[in-house]
């Protein structure tokens, strides 16, 4: 979205209600589709962007304005894409399960800057996971940066602490009964907008979603170990998974 003063022929890329020169009311303009004019694959990490490689896209809207957007997938030049800025601003991620995959997901989530709630069944498992994540973060960054990142990790034994996250990624044992029970509880605890993702390679998303009141927000995510090193994630849409949920993921 851009803010325009037609009188002064000026454009702003951040909210400006009245033109800073003529004080008249600005108009906003947005575009439905953007053409990819440039793309670069970035291999050098910076403090807010420690997971590399990633892509930076140079987008042009229908009015000829440029935008920069970060992406984790490659696009072809000249292709059109819809606005990739996320409608729901994701800030908090909940991870259930402290196995190898669960810890890996939590670590990556922390590294890209999300507040992360990590849930496990026992105090011991949680402590072990915290130490493991701390060790692995130290391999990727300096002590100062690690301390800062780790402030965003909230370990917990209570499922209720996941009530205010934007996305829950469940990574418990591959057992349909346990997963269904968990999703039933999550359905009650989490807000109606929260996306519920299950890390599975073989179980039916539809069956897991069937126990929830809103199956269109349930999706499958199949991570590969070690999660921090593998850039591949399989996204599995269920029969009823909404387009919005798919795009956000």
């Amino acid at each position: 979205m851009i803010w325009i003063c037609k009188k002064c022929n000026l454009t702003w890329y951040y909210p400006v209600d009245t033109c800073i020169y003529c004080r008249s009311k600005t108009e906003t303009a947005s575009s439905d589709s953007y053409t990819i004019r440039g793309i670069t694959e970035v291999f050098t990490p910076s403090p807010d962007h420690s997971v590399v490689p990633y892509y930076d896209l140079l987008l042009e809207d229908e009015h000829g304005n440029f935008y920069i957007r970060k992406a984790f997938q490659s696009y072809d030049l000249g292709n059109e894409i819809r606005e990739i800025r996320k409608e729901i601003k994701v800030k908090r991620i909940g991870v259930i399960g402290t196995g190898v995959t669960g810890c890996g997901i939590a670590q990556v989530s922390l590294q890209v800057g999300y507040e992360t709630v990590l849930k496990s069944r026992s105090k011991e498992a949680i402590d072990r996971a915290f130490k493991k994540i701390e060790m692995n973060l130290l391999k990727a960054m300096e002590v100062e940066a690690k301390d800062k990142v780790l402030c965003n990790l909230k370990p917990t034994e209570r499922l209720e602490d996941l009530s205010n996250v934007d996305i829950v990624i469940e990574s418990v044992i591959e057992d349909i009964k346990i997963k269904k029970q968990l999703f039933k509880e999550l359905d009650n605890i989490c807000s109606k907008k929260t996306i519920l993702a299950t890390n599975t390679s073989s179980l039916s998303i539809d069956e897991i979603a069937s126990v929830t009141s809103n199956p269109n927000r349930v999706i499958g995510m199949h991570f590969f170990n070690p999660v921090p090193k593998m850039h591949l994630v399989e996204i599995i849409a269920g029969e009823k998974t909404s387009q919005k949920t798919i795009e956000l993921m």
């Binding site: 910076s46 807010d48 420690s50 930076d56």
Partner: protein, 311 residues
């Protein structure tokens, strides 16, 4: 230094700080007789992520950096636009790097004085931000340089500054209409040529701000040494080498001489003055008369141009 009892001012315009300090000093000559301009930077012994963050202070946080657009990424996109528009190739960029490294081998103050570089090495170097490779990027260096400016001519070695111009542009490249040229350079260049009352053809030696190889090509076009898109031909024909008709970055440029941010702009002037005085040793050009320095900050957000003449 309170015992000196003189004013001391810090100038900060990112990579253009050196050039901007000289620009300020020349304006201050209305009041002071002798002014010392010092450029200095210590950048080593910091891990590269931290250095990237500090350098990023010169960029647009909201539009660029939140989306991961670091300086190498910006120049990578600019290089790609230049390639798409003018069919500039990776080898053209490599030739710029090679030429600057060859010049750096003749400059004992250069960061890479001892490093021998060839085309294969450049072509096989790791990618930093596609299409830019390691050898397309200036290094993180330590360095310092100083100048003394005055209204009075004291010795026969003094070099005259005949133009000093500074211009600015948007910080973020996305707010501009054209990504294959820097408007600030064009504005400052026009202003400088008018002040100096010279034509671009009269310039014998140039120091341009090659923080990335693509920046040297774009500078050649923006400064008017060639028309847009023509810089690749100049490079292919070797016209910017030491023995070419318009030698560029005879000290190795930011690429091989090094890029200690605040010192780079002053180091460029040091090279020009050394050349005009005929004291450049092995890399000395034959009788240069008029010279130009081009120092930019950020992604061309600030451009400072000075023109010098042997007096």
């Amino acid at each position: 230094m309170p015992e000196l009892r003189i004013p001391i001012i810090g100038i900060e315009t990112a990579c253009a700080s050196g050039g901007s300090a000289l620009y300020q000093a020349l304006m201050s000559l209305a009041k002071f007789r002798f002014i010392m301009v010092i450029g200095v930077e210590k950048m080593s012994n910091v891990d590269s992520a931290k250095a990237t963050m500090n350098i990023s202070a010169a960029g647009d946080r909201i539009l660029d950096q939140n989306e991961g657009l670091t300086f190498p990424a910006s120049y990578a996109l600019i290089a790609q636009q230049h390639m798409l528009k003018y069919a500039t190739t990776l080898d053209d960029l490599a030739l710029v790097s090679l030429k600057n490294h060859e010049n750096g081998n003749l400059n004992e103050f250069a960061h890479f004085y001892y490093k021998k570089v060839d085309m294969e090495m450049i072509r096989n170097s790791p990618i930093i931000c596609s299409p830019l490779r390691l050898f397309d990027c200036s290094p993180i260096s330590d360095g310092a340089a100083a100048l003394i400016v005055s209204r009075e001519k004291k010795t026969e070695r003094d070099i005259k500054v005949i133009a000093s111009a500074l211009a600015t542009d948007y910080i973020s490249p996305v707010q501009r209409k054209d990504l294959t040229s820097f408007k600030a350079t064009k504005i400052a260049a026009n202003e400088a040529y008018t002040q100096a009352k010279i034509d671009v053809q009269e310039i014998n030696i140039v120091e341009v701000h090659d923080c990335f190889t693509i920046a040297e090509l774009i500078a050649m076009e923006d400064l008017g040494f060639c028309s847009p898109g023509e810089s690749k031909n100049f490079v292919r024909e070797g016209r910017t080498k030491l023995d070419g008709d318009i030698p560029i970055n005879t000290d190795g440029g930011l690429k091989a001489d090094g890029h200690p941010i605040g010192a780079s702009g002053i180091a460029q002037v040091y090279e020009i003055v050394t050349q005009l005085r005929g004291e450049a040793g092995e890399r000395q050009l034959k009788n240069p008369e008029v010279a130009l320095t081009h120092n930019i900050g950020g992604i061309g957000g600030t451009a400072v141009i000075h023109i010098f003449r042997r007096s």
